[in-house]
């Protein structure tokens, strides 16, 4: 099972790197870096799902801490929209999730990442919990 996280370069990428150094990052969760979470559109996420990723995490900056003012909010709206679409299409919307992170918040992001991995591996009957 593999999962994907779209991470914003200004926050989530740095937090994820740090979590990886601290050994807290789940190995199944691969990273794709973008300048801002607002760069990610619905097609990128569905693209990941059709390429065999079991789950997709979009990580932006905390509210009121986005370098690009509201890229994170735009991203959150898109993720919510896609989750509704997935539900209507009969795909488990839990496979797509949005998280907010800070470059100084590695433990919190890592915990969210492990939760996602655990939950999805549970739902898909994957190889079980890693974390």
């Amino acid at each position: 099972m593999k999962l994907l996280a779209f991470v914003c370069e200004r926050s989530a990428l740095r937090a994820a790197r740090e979590a990886r150094e601290l050994g807290a990052w789940p190995e199944e969760l691969e990273l794709v870096a973008v300048p801002c979470s607002g760069r990610i559109d619905v097609l990128h996420i569905t693209g990941a799902l059709t390429r065999g990723y079991a789950g997709v995490l979009v990580v932006g900056c905390h509210e009121e801490a986005c370098e690009f003012v509201q890229g994170n909010l735009v991203a959150r709206r898109r993720v919510e929209y896609l989750r509704r679409l997935l539900e209507q299409a009969g795909v488990d919307p839990g496979r797509v999730r949005m998280e907010l992170a800070s470059p100084a918040g590695a433990p919190r992001l890592a915990r969210a990442a492990r939760e996602l991995v655990a939950e999805i591996s549970c739902r898909t009957g994957g190889k079980g919990e890693e974390a």
Binding site: R10, S11, R14, L22, C61, H62, E63, E64, A65, E67, L100, S102, P103, A104, G105, A106, P107, R108, R111
Partner: protein
């Protein structure tokens, strides 16, 4: 070429901000940092967002560190300043293993947290459950908040007492304590008490934290005088100023909000550079232009001049950079 070169001493947020501003203004900047990596204290602090950003500014330290790595600033870590000769526009600075020709020097050597062990009654070093706020920061940064249910923050440790020569407010401790406390409530479901003398909650950046703290934290006016080890943690004795009377209460974790003291090298560096320190031991800034030291060609940035938080230190670093650039242009055209 000396007049194009600037030496920035100290790689904390103020030093990084000054160096990056100068580099953006096309100066040749060397950043000297005594530690092995740049970033200073703030790069090791934790994000304090609860369900909302509390505007603690720690992410700014990370932004500066990334920007620095991608900038033309020459970084010399594990390096100290050993000597300085010359005059504004034409200094020769000796740093560990090298000599540099620079036009100006920005001192951004930062602060030292008040030594918590200096208050033995508060139990630091004697009781395991008594830690400093910087220790809590580091722990939160690397592992997340500790699992302690009853947590107390003790404010003004090393601040606001002329008897220690520290008759000033350190300005940053109330904001960081409230934010850290809110983080513990949000992420570890702790019950947090903050013991204060006067709560410093001013400022736009504190708006969210202030509002959440008044709802989610127990704020007690009266700073504990004594900590005793008991079976279930630490017992604090304090005078409750508003409700009246001396009381005792038990906690699982006690966090000492240590104030900002001048950095350990301040006095020696002042002698080496021939610049003044003020009555509280920080480098003395020029009245109305706190980023200028008492000696032309040497500038001050950040908490080495007076206690400053992250955002204020960055602003001060940038202000110092603007002055350096202006003065060096003048030297060149003279």
């Amino acid at each position: 070429m000396a007049a194009r070169g600037v030496l920035v001493l100290g790689g904390g947020v103020a030093g990084m901000a000054a160096a990056l501003s100068l580099a953006a203004m096309d100066f040749e900047v060397t950043l000297v940092e005594k530690a092995a990596v740049p970033g200073g204290r703030a790069v090791g602090y934790a994000c304090k967002a609860t369900d909302r950003c509390l505007h603690c500014g720690v992410c700014l330290a990370s932004d500066l560190a990334e920007e620095l790595a991608a900038s033309p600033v020459v970084l010399r870590t594990g390096t100290r300043l050993e000597g300085l000769e010359g005059r504004p526009g034409d200094f020769r600075a000796t740093v560990t293993g090298a000599e540099l020709a620079v036009g100006a020097l920005v001192v951004a050597t930062g602060l030292a947290p008040a030594p918590a062990a200096g208050w033995p009654d508060l139990g630091y070093g004697r009781l395991d459950a008594v830690i400093t706020a910087s220790e809590l920061e580091e722990r939160c940064r690397r592992q997340g908040p500790p699992a302690a249910r009853r947590v107390a923050f003790v404010q003004c440790v090393g601040s606001r007492n002329p008897a220690w020569g520290k008759g000033y407010c350190s300005e940053v401790c109330c904001p960081y304590a409230l934010r850290l406390g809110l983080g513990l409530v949000a992420e570890a479901a702790a019950e947090v008490t903050v013991f204060f003398n006067d709560l410093q909650t001013a400022g736009k950046s504190m708006a969210t934290a202030r509002e959440q703290a008044r709802k989610g934290l127990r704020l007690v006016q009266g700073v504990p005088s004594r900590a005793a080890g008991v079976a279930a943690g630490v017992e604090l004795q304090f005078e409750d100023v508003r409700a009246g009377g001396v009381r005792r209460e038990g906690f699982d974790l006690v966090v000492l909000s240590t104030g900002i003291w001048p950095g350990p090298d301040t006095a020696a560096l002042a002698r080496l550079l021939g610049i003044n320190t003020g009555p509280t031991g920080f480098f003395a800034g020029h009245p109305g232009q706190s980023w200028r030291s008492s000696r032309p060609g040497i500038y001050l940035a950040g908490s080495c001049q007076k206690p400053r938080g992250i955002a204020d230190s960055i602003a001060h670093g940038r202000a110092a950079a603007a002055q350096v650039a202006a003065d060096l242009e003048e030297v060149r055209s003279a």
